[in-house]
Amino acid sequence: MDVTRRGLLAAGLGAGVALGASACASPSTGGRPIPAPAPVRARAGAPNLLIVFSDDHRADHLGVTGAVPFLQTPVLDSLASDGVRFDNAYVTTALCSPSRATLLTGQYASRHGVQNNLSAWTPGTPSFFDSLAAAGYRCAYIGKWHMPGDLPDLPGVERFVTFTIEEGQGVYRDCPLIVDGVETPRPGTYVSTDLTDLALTWLDDGDDRPYCLVVAHKAVHHEFEPPDDLLGLYDDVEIDLPDEAFTYQTLLDRNVWEGTAGRLQTSYRRYCETLLGLDREIGRLAARDADNTVLIYTSDNGYSWGEHVLTGKRWAYDDNIKVPLIVRWPEGVVSPGTVIEEPVLNIDIAPTLLDIAEVPIPATMQGRSFAPLLRGDGVDWREDVFYEYFADFPYQVPPSQAVRTDRWLYVEYDRGLPPELYDTVSDPAQRANLIEDPAHAVTRQELSQRLAELRREFT
């Protein structure tokens, strides 16, 4: 056979184009509105449920915490003072897709199956939408879905808006949307504003049923693009990086895949500006229906900004697993402005919504309603939380399981890597691994046993 260089080149190009085309094909089916199975009238006085879900917003990045002196989040601060803020809210897997699935199902990733950003949502997976729609709620999901494969036709969801560009990550400007299964160009838009506009339009459509609306933002995920009027707002503030961090750590192999290559300080400034832009959009939603609406704000995971020389998420450290959680519920919160210390998880949000709506909580949900904590009821609460992480190519983060108590963080890794133990009280940044310290041998053993129990319970 006569193989020429030109022939080889053509064959290579052809194969590349074919592979690329098949890889780039975006899911375009699904995401269609599915009305409630039968017209049911919701109980009188049923509260509206508004869940605002951001991306990569770490827990201490709220103005009200004072952790970052220059940071402004006036709307979220105001919501916290009108409602409650949880100081120990954790995610069960610090990653976009698993966290979204957990929010909707009240289940660990081990159970719902969306274990990483390459795992698809299984059609038919029960979510809180099913129960609420069956109870007479009208439901909508507007924003980042991010799970691969075809978009789902979620039972009970009458408006489904998302984006599939950049494999579901979306873009900040001119982000094309899929509105009820129909691709819709959105030229001239900023995505946080556009999603909020669509949410408000849906809320104002004259339907008098109680609603459950999830607004899932792209912000504040990279590429950290703030609205035009906020760009550069923090250019002159002093950035206090962790001791182990440095400006171009973003070029290290373990960080570069986050898409944050460049000066760490610059990315961080843009992150904070993008957060302020998001805060403003939350304010537009929060200004509507303040009375009989439960507003829950939280995020899919935290984010490392130099801690452990990391720029990203996935690890079991607090920067990654702690998220902001604010609930404004005028009818239910007895002591506005309260900071709740009990550890809650994102698996708790689904059962909490159903509890507040007085809808039965399915046994499939692994979380627990924190509505009693909102009301200030004395209640026995969990003392520790279980965390799990699964491999997510190409990120070089070992699969892990962890237990977090009010004092300790104990992490076990797969692949034979040694465990880690941190005293989060004396070492809040979790830098000093005490696993080999004989003084903590008993603690290590107890936590290892506890982790095994939690693993059996939740996976």
Partner: protein, 193 residues
């Protein structure tokens, strides 16, 4: 005395051949060695702040590592060609450091992923970007070297610069490389999913 090797003593002809080969590939070896030394130093010191100079030192190491990885072709190509290397040998020379990086990447990825997946990791966009950058750098080196020696413009070098630059931009510079990154991950999912 015979020119053949006897009793473990290398023959002068073989020794001369070895020296010539070493002389030929020395520029590429120096680039690879520089990259590996910096890479190992980074792995050794990163995350262990020792004082005020730590951040600056780490930044310097990270940026220095980009030199042999992305840009050494500007020297390696003309140096190897001047030592008698064919175009194919010189091409292998300029890509030796990105290939070393790919091997190191796969080696490290094997701590986190099964062997075949770790091997796929070696095709990551940083490697592709480095291959492109080295091609572009080699083109620039060849152009300057050719102009200096013969006063003639090299269209081959110009084409190399363009192809190399486009590859690098698509792989790592354009929106942080995500336009190649996501398809690369999807191909992974197709293969290993």
């Amino acid at each position: 005395m015979s020119a053949q090797s006897r009793g473990g003593i290398e023959s002068p002809a073989k020794s001369a051949h070895g020296s010539a080969t070493l002389h030929l590939i020395a520029p590429a070896l120096i680039s690879v060695a520089t990259f590996l030394v910096i890479d190992i130093a980074l792995a050794r010191f990163v995350g262990r702040p020792w004082g005020p100079a730590y951040p600056m030192s780490m930044d310097a190491l990270v940026l220095l590592r980009m030199g042999p990885l992305f840009f050494s072709g500007v020297i390696v190509w003309p140096a190897m060609r001047a030592r008698g290397a064919t175009r194919g040998q010189a091409l292998l020379g300029i890509w030796a450091t990105p290939i070393a990086f790919a091997i190191v990447s796969a080696w490290r990825a094997a701590d986190f992923f099964p062997p075949l997946q770790a091997m796929y990791y070696a095709t990551n966009p940083m490697v592709v970007g480095a291959l492109g950058a080295q091609l572009s750098a080699a083109g620039a080196g060849a152009l300057v070297w050719g102009m200096w020696r013969t006063r003639r413009w090299s269209w081959w070098a110009t084409v190399a610069i363009v192809i190399g630059t486009v590859t690098t931009v698509v792989a790592v510079l354009w929106d942080g490389g995500q336009h190649l990154f996501y398809p690369w991950v999807l191909v992974y999912a197709r293969i290993f999913g």
